[in-house]
């Protein structure tokens, strides 16, 4: 009989070693943007996007991975967060609230939207829930795209520009600054900001997962009827999942708006929801580290391909045989397929998913 050990047990085995490991990782993460900047500042931006997506993936993981609710409209919460920030810190309404004030507002509003989405859909399962959430995502986007008349709220497809960059304690995040003799570019500053937010998000995720709430999510994912019979208020617990997931999206959206300084509804299309979902599934649903890895991987792979496809072709054939962007997309698509074929439960499956998979005869009668 296989014995299950919670993941934390491995780390706990030797606290000293664990701390050394953590310290090493911390140093590596702090040094990372400098290393990346050596190759090109673009890589720092890519890293930032990767972290942003990791935040989104962590949020979606609560809904999909923990609670087992398939959500295809997750990007809507990202959009809500981004628009909250944009409306409260741009010339559009002439409001310029500080970053640390808007972020919680964005999280709260996104959270409300999460409940709004969750409430009518609680009875739906699986693919039906997927389609409703998808519809919800589209509804939010269409509203953002059209709330420009009769009263101009979102400025419609034109988007909102000149959004305030993050500014904390007088430090502007969009310009290059100096710490001692070290030049720290805008993207680098955002990297550290994002990293801190990500770490907080991971800690929250881990703590939620190993809590009474986390167990309740697992229960409804495994068997909703049994969960209800065990006294779990599934309505509340599902709404909580939607709300928590949505707040992560809202926060990520706010930071996104600040980094881009321009947002428009076309950034919040269905494909983005699917992308985030792919990160969650491909990384390993339910496993926090897997999900983060999935986000980082799917953010980096296309960019790495962008940098390598053309040179590789040139080296091999002396010229581009097939257009690089076509190859990039083909390889990306194939990579998605290949990973799932070889690791159907994701790259780093959670223990629970692995067990699901081990049940080889999933639909054998009783």
């Amino acid at each position: 009989m296989p014995h299950v050990k919670s993941q934390s047990h491995h780390l706990m085995r030797s606290p000293v070693l664990a701390w050394v490991g953590i310290a090493l990782i911390a140093v590596a993460l702090i040094a990372l943007p400098f290393a990346l900047a050596q190759i090109g500042t673009a890589w720092v931006r890519i890293a930032n996007l990767a972290i942003l997506f990791a935040l989104l993936a962590l949020g979606l993981n609560i809904v999909v991975g923990f609670a087992g609710l398939l959500d295809l409209g997750y990007i809507a919460f990202f959009a809500v967060g981004a628009y909250c920030y944009a409306l409260l810190a741009s010339p559009h309404f002439g409001l310029h609230l500080p970053f640390w004030l808007i972020l919680p507002i964005g999280a709260l509003v996104a959270c409300l939207f999460g409940v709004l989405l969750g409430a009518p859909t609680l009875k739906l399962r699986g693919d039906y829930l997927a389609i409703v959430t998808l519809g919800f995502g589209e509804i939010v986007r269409v509203f953002l795209n059209n709330l420009a008349r009769p009263i101009n709220i979102t400025n419609g497809p034109q988007g909102i520009s000149r959004i305030d960059p993050v500014s904390i304690g007088g430090i502007k995040f969009n310009t290059t600054g100096k710490v001692f003799d070290l030049a720290i570019s805008g993207p680098m500053k955002y990297y550290y900001l994002l990293l801190i937010v990500l770490i907080i998000a991971i800690v929250i995720n881990i703590r939620l997962q190993n809590s009474r709430i986390g167990r309740a999510w697992e229960a409804i994912r495994e068997d909703e009827i049994a969960a209800r019979a065990m006294g779990i208020n599934t309505t509340q617990i599902k709404l909580l999942a939607f709300a928590m997931g949505a707040s992560f999206g809202g926060i990520a959206g706010g930071i996104f708006a600040a980094i881009q300084q321009f947002i428009s509804p076309e950034s919040f299309v269905l494909v983005e929801s699917i992308m985030v979902l792919s990160m969650v599934v491909l990384g390993g649903m339910g496993n926090i580290w897997g999900v983060v890895a999935g986000a980082v991987l799917l953010s980096f792979v296309p960019e790495i391909l962008r940098y390598t496809v053309l040179p590789v072709q040139n080296a091999l054939f002396g010229r581009a045989i097939v257009e690089p962007e076509v190859i990039r997309m083909l390889l990306f698509g194939l990579a998605l397929v290949a990973v799932m074929l070889y690791r159907p439960a994701g790259l780093f499956p959670s223990a629970v998913r692995r067990r699901e998979l081990a049940k080889a005869d999933a639909r054998l009668p009783a």
Partner: protein
């Protein structure tokens, strides 16, 4: 009234297109409870192949209907092969994997199919040669074209054929049996793999027909055309109750009509000038003959999705979907 009738015809045609694509989703879903997210791409390939053939033969002197038929009969086998390949490569190995795994491979295959199509047929919007003369008929003041009529009829015929196949033939019964319990179906002597492959091929053939329909009705094909169409059709299938043949039909037609009526009437329904006492400030502008609508045709998708959500909230397994009561 004319306008209403016109909108109804508009919606029915659009809905018929959705319905045929939705049938493809439903066939596959019906048998392995899998959303074949790459079905839209199969439709696209169907349109593209037909485009190539029809363009080649456009000036051959053959009667236009013959050309379209030849185009369709070339598109069908190609799509069937694509459908079969999809099943073999992306779905069969994952039959026992967690539910979301095939979703991701489907997305991957969609990307691949799109970009292969882009290599073959270029990035451009391809204009279908308009070889079939559009005849417009006047029905009680509403204009309907010959192509529209053909589309709606074809859609009904296809559904009828599928219903017959699924409920009256041995293949159909064994397909449904496989859907409900593949292993026990195997114990009855059903070759499940073959059965599933056939279903994919049938679904893909429907996709091919849909592709030709879309291409020749709208006159345009593009390597990404499948995505949105697939999405809408998928919604239609769910609306009707996914896995259910008449459901796909009803869902498709309904979605088409909802969209048309939505586009046609949301503006009127939310005309602020209709309730002048509510918005006194707008009185002057309204008096000038302006219509100030809160929402307009731009919200037709919202409208469609809201109806979809409302239907699902009231009937959690779609309009005609079997309510599989979760027995405790």
């Amino acid at each position: 009234m004319e306008t209403f009738l016109q909108q109804l015809f508009n919606g029915l045609t659009l809905g018929a297109v959705y319905a045929v694509v939705a049938l493809g989703y439903t066939m596959v879903y019906g048998i392995i409870q899998l959303i074949n997210f790459a079905h839209g791409e199969v439709v696209m390939i169907g349109a593209m192949v037909a485009f190539t053939i029809i363009t080649l033969l456009a000036n051959s002197g053959l009667p236009p209907v013959a050309i379209v038929l030849i185009g369709t009969s070339c598109a069908i086998p190609v799509c069937m092969i694509v459908g079969y390949a999809l099943e073999r490569i992306a779905y069969r190995p994952l039959r026992n994997a967690p539910r979301l795994a095939p979703l991701i491979t489907a997305i991957g295959m969609s990307i691949v199919l799109q970009h292969v199509a882009m290599m073959v047929w270029s990035r451009n919007n391809l204009a279908f040669p308009q070889i079939i003369k559009t005849e417009t008929y006047d029905i009680a003041g509403a204009s309907v074209t010959n192509i529209q009529i053909v589309i709606v009829i074809l859609c009904l015929v296809l559904m009828g054929g599928l219903l017959w196949l699924v409920h009256r033939t041995r293949l159909g019964i064994s397909m449904r049996a496989t859907a409900q319990n593949p292993r026990v179906a195997g114990l009855m002597g059903v070759n499940i793999n073959r059965e599933i492959a056939i279903t994919f091929a049938i679904g893909a053939a429907l996709g091919a027909v849909a592709g030709v329909m879309v291409g020749s009705y709208y006159g345009i094909a593009h390597y990404q055309m499948g995505a949105l169409l697939g999405l809408k059709a998928f919604c239609a299938a769910v609306l009707g109750g996914i896995g259910n043949v008449p459901g796909a039909m009803v869902g498709g037609l309904l979605l088409g009509v909802i969209e048309a009526l939505g586009a046609g009437y949301i503006g009127d329904l939310t005309d602020l000038c209709a309730v002048p006492w509510l918005f006194a400030g707008l009185a002057a502008r309204c008096a000038a003959g302006e219509h100030i609508s809160l929402f307009g045709s731009n919200y037709q998708d919202v409208f469609a999705f809201l109806v979809l959500i409302a239907v699902l909230v009231l009937r959690p397994s779609g309009l005609l979907g079997e309510r599989v009561g979760d027995r405790a």
